[in-house]
Symmetry: C2
Subunit: 433 residues, 2 copies
């Protein structure tokens, strides 16, 4: 399932960080070079030649310096049946990569490994037996890892066409956060009109996705924790009761507003927060634990934080559950292997996007060279919405796109898309048919 | 909430078991004795007199002999505001009473206590402030206990008018079993088209209710455990795959048919069966434990069975839940205190009944004198459907209604209702307006 396994991997000893240089990427094959637009095989011999591309590789566990920007090379003809080659335009940063960097994400193979679970881009080549994707298609791609690179090989069934109006940044922000929120709210829990939901880290990627999805159901009350500076934004986004978890006890605050508690708790924190979440549930309510963010304190693995989170982990027997009429569940997208479920969920999300009911909020965009800054921003909980990584090399004069600027871009997709068409790295888009 | 607390209780030293005698119950006040049909107060002084009635009282923990048929007396004028007096026509037997008899049902006050959580009958008097019920209404009544008596005092908001076509036996069979099944399937779990459900004890009261409710949703696959002799009946009732748990390992059998397992497990057994149920769940599936039937082996409290059930009780931490994407929950109707939820659920169930989508299956009807036989039948898992207790004294020539006869009655409600009208104890029905 790895996008890089079939490829020749040339790891450079030193981190590549040359933002001023042109991208070391071969020009895409022009569309007219293909004899048949529907053909799935490289037609001309010159296409067989090796192409190089940049990738963000985790080289060991530890601090940000363990993630290195490296140049790799591959041969398009190595594409296997059922695979597609994607020129990646934008990638999503997830909490899983913060955990992975510290060696705490058990689904990530040992380093060296290219990170990244989601991205968007344009299909540059298709392997045998791929009939539903063609060169030039704008797509969302998901993979177990390996999306943080300019060129990624992914199974065709893990790619999904994106609507015209959706920017690459939005597309890269959608899969992990929105699928997680959707499956939790509508597959595991049973969100219906009139219910109440506690969303921790309500300004984070899953938090904002969950807030938007809650609003697709009538009369849902949303309690959202976030630091005070983010309250205005999350209120505008739909959080009914923002709570500053840094200065107030959220259990007390929620009980003041709703003495009986809440119906659903989405808990990415783990440890003692799971216990508090359980105590907050109304009868017939459900706590969904989907992370252990409390484990991540500093930059490196913190054994004390881990032990504390583990020790305080909610452990319940069925008698206690019966006496309280409550449900607990765990959710981890990485352990879902049902391709049909992935597909149906993403199709549903793209429909909701087109109906204007959901819209990924982009917090900021960082070039690959700035990955440490991007991760630090998430680690320090500074983001409101999704942090995006851009494979395109940073231009020397360019300021990092973040905050207000990125938010503005997210609100003006079409403008953003047309703007990008002027940039050289976006030439591949002209291949679209 | 007890129906008997406000009443004078005259406990007889010996068990009353005189089926040949006429019922020691005062004749109901004729409707025309009331000056205003809407009046909620006893109008005439003669109504104030003490009336006596029969009740099934748990006198201590142990075998069937601990439940005694006693004659009590009360004064109608003792009715408090918000209460109604119900002449009970039929009562439901639940597993909770088997547990209660052994001292294993923690919600039941200490003996002596009148048993019974559900019943049906006719309203004989209404207390102050009761505006939505009137004398003569045919109703379902629920209470924490105290329904196994000829006259029961219950809060008016725990009574629900029953449809014309519904017999008293059906009405008494509905509340506990169908509310339990409904809340589990539609409030806790999220039963939707195409899902699969494992129903243990599929021929029991909750089992049959759950089977019928599953069929209100399209394409639900039902696995049901029951002994082989019941398979034909439960198949006809809608169980897709009946499994004989006595001769086969149900985990193996289910995996043969559905290698990925099931979406929902309804588990009234507890102990090691909860562990098996959890192992059978598909990702995003839910195990609902709603009993510990495995505790009940013999007639009396069995410490070994309890210890074994307790020891094998499913205990999970959130990490395990995350890694498997599963949910566990507990359900216990006795711990639900949300009156609005009760009301809405029962109204929904009565709608489904009137639409012909659900219909309680009566296994057998026993008179109060035969309560030991009734409980033994449930304890030995001989029933298919609900066991009903009738306050009406047994006539000497009458055979116990059971099995085929009772099933026939259940299919011919109207016949059953009209038949009962000929019996003297049913005269109260003529009060209906």
């Amino acid at each position: 399932m790895s996008g890089e396994e079939p490829l020749t991997q040339q790891q450079e000893p030193e981190q590549v960080k040359k933002p001023d240089e042109p991208p070391p990427v071969a020009a895409p094959a022009p569309a007219e070079a293909k004899p048949e637009s529907g053909s799935s095989r490289p037609a001309a011999a010159e296409e067989e030649k090796t192409i190089s591309y940049r990738a963000l590789v985790l080289t060991g566990y530890g601090g940000y310096e363990k993630i290195k920007l490296q140049v790799k090379s591959m041969n398009k003809s190595q594409l296997k049946a059922g695979e597609v080659l994607v020129r990646v335009k934008a990638c999503g940063l997830n909490f899983a990569e913060l955990l992975g960097k510290q060696g705490l994400y058990e689904l990530l193979p040992s380093p060296p490994i290219t990170l990244g679970m989601e991205g968007s881009g344009v299909i540059e080549a298709v392997g045998e037996d791929v009939t539903n994707r063609k060169v030039g298609d704008r797509i969302i791609a998901m993979n177990r890892h390996g999306m943080w690179q300019e060129l990624a090989v992914v199974p065709a069934n893990r790619t999904f066409p994106i609507p015209e109006a959706m920017s690459f940044e939005e597309a890269a922000a959608l899969p992990v956060n929105y699928m997680t929120a959707y499956m939790m709210l509508f597959e595991m829990a049973n969100l219906r009109p009139g219910k109440s939901v506690l969303i921790h880290m309500a300004a984070g990627g899953v938090g904002i996705a969950a807030t938007q999805l809650c609003q697709t159901v009538q009369d849902v009350t949303i309690f959202g924790t976030a630091s005070a500076s983010k309250h205005e934004t999350i209120s505008q986004g739909g959080v009914t009761h923002p709570i500053d978890y840094r200065t107030k006890d959220y259990v007390t605050e929620i009980h003041k507003i709703s003495p009986k508690g809440v119906d659903i708790v989405l808990d990415p924190l783990g440890g003692s927060d799971s216990q508090k979440g359980f105590s907050l549930l109304k009868p017939l309510g459900m706590l969904i634990v989907f992370g252990a963010a409390n484990c991540v304190t500093g930059q490196k693995k913190n054994l004390l934080a881990m032990a504390k989170t583990w020790y305080n982990q909610l452990t319940l027997n069925t008698l206690k559950l019966m006496q309280t009429n409550k449900a607990i569940s765990g959710f981890h997208l990485g352990y879902i292997h049902d391709e049909e479920l992935f597909k149906m969920t993403l199709i549903k999300l793209l429909e909701l996007y087109q109906q204007g009911k959901i819209k990924p909020r982009i917090d900021s965009c960082y070039h690959f060279e700035e990955v440490a800054e991007a991760m630090k921003r998430m680690h320090d909980r500074q983001n409101i919405g999704k942090i995006i990584l851009l494979p395109e090399p940073k231009k020397s004069e360019e300021k990092p796109k973040s905050n207000a600027e990125a938010a503005e871009n997210a609100e003006k997709n079409e403008a953003a898309v047309s703007e990008k068409k002027e940039e050289p790295a976006e030439e591949v888009e002209t291949e679209k048919d």
